[in-house]
Amino acid sequence: MAKIKLIINGNEVTGEKGDSVLTVCLNNGIYVPTLCHHERLTDTGACRLCLVEIEGQKGYRPACCTEANDGMVVKTDTDEIKRLRRSMIELLFSERNHFCMFCEVSGDCELQKVAYAHGIERAKYDYDQPRVRVDASRSYFVFDENRCILCQRCVRACSEIAGHNVLDLAGRSAETKIIADLNASFGESSCTSCGTCLQVCPTGALIDRKSAYLGRMEQCNITKSTCSFCSVGCGIEVVTRDNHILRINGDWEGPVNKGVLCVHGRFEPVHDKRKRLIKPMIKKNHSLQEVELDEAIDYISEKCKEMDINTDNAIGLISPKATNEEANIFVSMFRKDMVGEFGPYTILPDENQTATLSDISSSDCIVMYKMDPNTLVIGSFVKLAVRKNNTKLVLVDDNKNNFDTISSIKIKPDELDLAKEFLSRASNPLIIYTSGISEDEVKRLSGLSDKAKLMGFLAGANSRGLRNIGINGKIDVSKAKALYVLACDDELKDNFKRYNAAFVVLQTSYLTPEIEDADVVLPSPIWAEKTGSITNIDGLVQNVTKSLDSPVKTNEEIMKLLIDRLSR
């Protein structure tokens, strides 16, 4: 990048060609107030707070939307600019109903911060007091138009980085409002509740239901970690206070997601209502009874002797929510071919055909086979590819699909050959499928094109890590005499079966009806109580960091106790 020199407030500063005046100012530590600017979003000059004076140019220019040129002479702090900015803030306050005293974000609000910075101690202009809507039709967050300053960060985040394109503006001037779709209520709109808009909102216009009024950011701890929902491996920031999770934010520095999350990663873990399992249980007289950990481990050991359970007849199933460290200890208890993945299994393509997540944005034709990742971050990636890069989307599905409207063509699975023409015309074709499809189908997909890359989307956060350790999903569980399921905080419904095993040990975080099927139940920490690493679909190993104190021993500790006892 070519360097450029500017004179800002009489001092010579440097920037790079292509930088905006605002970028140059911020990079050189020169204060310019902003509200609509966000470093991940395209600048639009909506709030007008960053007005600067540029020599030789008429009037005042928004620094965010003005390209910096070599030799530019800029002033950011004249009395007139300060007066204009102050008026701008006072006008923002007067337009809607901004009342800090009971606003959820008071103390963390960017509008409040700029007003403080400009010494505004009263409302100069009468408040308009419009009667506007509060839309609480979404489960996890509320839109309060009273606090909206129309900076449009949410609109840009929705289309530019989350890819969902749900939000837009309607109306003119002071009557302008943020709408979803064609002015549907948020709950009924095509909004996926990914919460990216919530994360970028500078005021209290978007409020998280769970963390509302539970504390300001300065009272909270932030722990960087990795989401344990799916194999994309999104970077998250867990906001906690007094050992409670308040909310989860996307980590702007997350190498894969760069700030974006989905409803399953941002909201669902925080709203988990399942009751925790704290004490181990063993089945006595057909019902589970709480015991101490030592007793449970003794019981397992006795049963192993009594029933002649050994590595030839015991099978282990491990949830892809387990960390690599947990998985390594787990596999050491079993014969190598007797450990399988717990949950939906995805057949992976040949290694030389395997695509990575970055292939989604560089592909010019994507075939999506029998899947609808509308609410997932990988869905965001596909939507962005289609909307930003004009990537052709060939949708193969029998059912109604959320990607119907943005696909170039929708075909039925038995007409798969129709996709060949699209693939042959593309230079970087990509085929995505997920769990629940047969080996034959994967073969047909890989035979569609010579140059296409394939992505078998893995459901579990650490599915890839488990495969790397040598855990195979395809084992015959039905013949196991004993079954040890390390379910962690995974969903047991639909996943957990007793098969024909005579003895079942289940290690799980929650008290759910399914535990009744086990002979011994051991506790497990939840995702936020673990430290370790998980491996995403691309093989990227990322850290999981503990953000809460755990009421139970770690899975590693419990497994080690068991191994010790069994080897005695």
């Binding site: 009342f99 800090c100 005293m101 008071s106 403080y116 009263r122 009468d126």
Partner: protein, 182 residues
């Protein structure tokens, strides 16, 4: 040295600002060595003295015709008028001006007739009574205000700081934790 005379009065308000003033705690003893509180809503004398005071402090927003008189009286009897609290500085506030979203007749009907606990209610009407204004408004729409202390309520520290500075003959500048809207 003669003491600074300070008079206070309240308008449409929750009295949180007055509580905050009392939160000055034992510092009020030191303050009273320099200040004479001639009249406040929470002491016996309600009206500022005719001979005038140095500092007048008004809290709340103006909601009826009587309060207009209160504001005018305070202005005419003080040298330096302070509007204190968000109701006085950020008017209209929903707490005191929630009714601005409605027609004044509807507000009165709701309050005196339609309330769930009211039987055979009627809106009181008498020449003796003041009238509600169509919209609540701020003090500075009626008289000139010299100084503003925002906050809901302003911190006791902020009130103490402002009074101490004024006693010392300086116009205080609110920054940092003294400048708050919540």
């Amino acid at each position: 040295m003669a003491k600074f005379k300070v008079a206070m009065d309240w308008l449409d308000i929750c009295s949180g600002c007055e509580m905050s003033l009392l939160d000055i705690d034992e510092r009020i003893v030191e303050l009273l060595k320099h200040v004479e509180l001639t009249s406040t809503p929470i002491t016996d004398l309600k009206h500022p003295p005719k001979e005038g005071v140095d500092i007048g402090i008004l809290t709340g927003s103006v909601g009826n015709t009587d309060q207009i008189e209160v504001v005018k009286e305070m202005r005419s009897r003080c040298k330096f008028l302070i509007a204190m609290g968000d109701c006085a500085t950020f008017n209209p506030l929903p707490i005191t001006a929630m009714r601005n979203f409605f027609d004044v007749d509807d507000v009165l009907k709701r309050g005196y007739v339609e309330t769930e606990s009211t039987i055979d209610g009627e809106v009181p009407e008498s020449e003796m009574l003041c009238r509600l204004l169509d919209k609540t408004t701020s003090i500075d729409k009626i008289v000139k205000v010299d100084y503003y202390i925002p906050g809901c309520p302003p911190d006791a520290d902020t009130i103490f700081f402002v009074l101490s500075e004024l006693i010392a003959g300086r116009i205080p500048v609110l920054t940092g934790k003294n400048l708050r809207y919540d």
